[in-house]
Symmetry: C2
Subunit: 403 residues, 2 copies
Amino acid sequence: MDHMFSSRIKSVQPSFIREILKAAENPDVISFAGGLPDKNLFPVKALTQASVRLMEHDGRDILQYGQSEGEYALRSYISEYYRSRQQLNVPVENILITSGSQQGLDLLGKVLIDQNDRIVIESPGYLGAIQALSLYQPEFLPVDIEDNGLDLDGFERSLSTDPKLLYCVPNFQNPTGYSYSEDNKKSIVDLVKDRNMFIVEDDPYGEICFSGENASSFFNWLPDQSILLGTFSKTISPGLRVGWIVAPDEVMKKLIIAKQASDLHTSRLTQGLILEYLLNNDLQAHLDQLSRIYGERCRIMGDLLDQHLGDEIERSHPRGGMFMWVKFAEPIDTMALFDAASSRGVVFVPGQSFYTDSKSSNCMRLNFSCSNQDQLAIGIERLCRAYLESRQADVPGHSKASA
Amino acid sequence: MDHMFSSRIKSVQPSFIREILKAAENPDVISFAGGLPDKNLFPVKALTQASVRLMEHDGRDILQYGQSEGEYALRSYISEYYRSRQQLNVPVENILITSGSQQGLDLLGKVLIDQNDRIVIESPGYLGAIQALSLYQPEFLPVDIEDNGLDLDGFERSLSTDPKLLYCVPNFQNPTGYSYSEDNKKSIVDLVKDRNMFIVEDDPYGEICFSGENASSFFNWLPDQSILLGTFSKTISPGLRVGWIVAPDEVMKKLIIAKQASDLHTSRLTQGLILEYLLNNDLQAHLDQLSRIYGERCRIMGDLLDQHLGDEIERSHPRGGMFMWVKFAEPIDTMALFDAASSRGVVFVPGQSFYTDSKSSNCMRLNFSCSNQDQLAIGIERLCRAYLESRQADVPGHSKASA
């Protein structure tokens, strides 16, 4: 059968994360592995009310085929939101509604990437982007991400091969929780300006910001070279699958063709529901609540790690988002640690999953958005025990009291 | 900017149909151009009730991320539906929920098609399939479709180049309204059996059947080589964007990877809504109503055409679906006729749009599902006038009284 498949699909491996998520389905397991928002914080009641209003007022129309670009009213809302929140002038015509921002990545691959085209990607980087773009068989140029942004020397070196785009998550990155500083962004802008390349700025977490501050976007400096990916998945609901992509005129024309070929258009019902919710609810109050709760969980997780493993780890100190990155001082392979942790009832994502070259890693990604205070305490304790025991097992004769 | 785009996207032209649909937005224009079901027949009330129940009972869960395969309960319903309606044994594990069946085509392209792989396609064929598959840069092998199925000689010749798949719409085809006879299908099965190729059977219209009879599927004979595309777009609502794909085990594994990379999963809200509707309503009664009304409109359109243009045309006699195919006896170009008709207030899709080689055509596709009796009468009259006048204009000195 194998000869029947495209070379493109053969180049994509099934994600190890699927296996992890299966382990996490066991209710006795505490999962720091997922990338899910906490479902207990979804605005279910407001969305139920919105759904009743929507079906009663517009049911017949939203059940019909719609435009590939998406619903005009929702695109207008997004345009206005960029203006009021970030002082960005993003015309409605440059916004295309997608089936989650994951689809934005697929459409970009379709429109921009030929086999062996080069893509600069953060290392470690977002797995979903690596997977989506891999289907278009690019050459990935990994550049280290550090706690204030891209490694600029590495980035400059990557430019010598004329990449078509830089893919980045400048706010509360997945998997590290790192954010780009203003200086780091400006240096990137100076390097990219006037080159034939785009910056794809994926920003799913920007509004889950513990400090409330607003970061600037590459679009401020380079609107003609910026492509923005946005989503309602982390702020309202991921199950609805509504995101968007912002792109310059010529790219947008091609994206619309690709969108039409891919699925005609995103569900009008889910687009309508999001808009109805936005027009009748206080989004900012909802975001403030999310940010407060996730921020608290992040702080607790960090404190527990410092307390149990202070000298054994370095970790990120996220100011938003859903993820913390932990690096062990010892050169252990977190893929092996995963098995020990899993048998103790806690799971995470081993660092190896986030590198395009699949190199062994002594890092791991911990998600803090879905665990309450008790779960955090139990989960981190299990994790520490698993780590200390596996270290002991790894080093025969090297005896150490367990924590 | 052009050098920044992929060679794949440069090979896809914007669809002329988009232009046509714009012309059809004028409320004074009668449109036989669209491919829409009649929105007045959507089960809005039942879907509104379903939506309230769904949000109240499962709101929190369906708003969360879900599985790439789709909701298990909906896949089970579809499996059971195949069993009860067509006596097909389609395991739940071989069903993947897609964002409309258009996405099924995109996923197949991703998984099966390398550049220059050969695809047998009906000529004329479904435009959406041509567009979706074009992105994977295959070589199309057009084979004529006739009123009882594929031209078998042409199909046999196409097999000499080892195509990877045959894409076909055996029931009430788009654009022709033709259906494959049992004998035609059996001959195709004999030719395809034991070859390294798939039959992709797209069946959006099978249940909009004026006579009530059930056709057999290629899956009956060749389950290991059959891929089925299905959708709720024509039967319940297109705006929800819920379809599915059935494929053999090995293909399904790859499709799930492609689905995950493309948009993670289809909206759980729209999947849940469809299921809630199906479990609480009499789908068959709804399908009977649709089939009765569309069948009546088809009959009226056909009678009007015969009456006004009897000797000037040959036309299909659809036993289901939404489209009629009209071929003029004279070698007129229906692309030119389109302008004359449009200025008279009626639009259709010129035949040229449905050929992979874009050859000029004296055919046109007429949609009958969205026009009531009055609209049919006025629209066909305008169309006939436009035709007779443009014929007169085309042939100087050849004077003829207009109808």
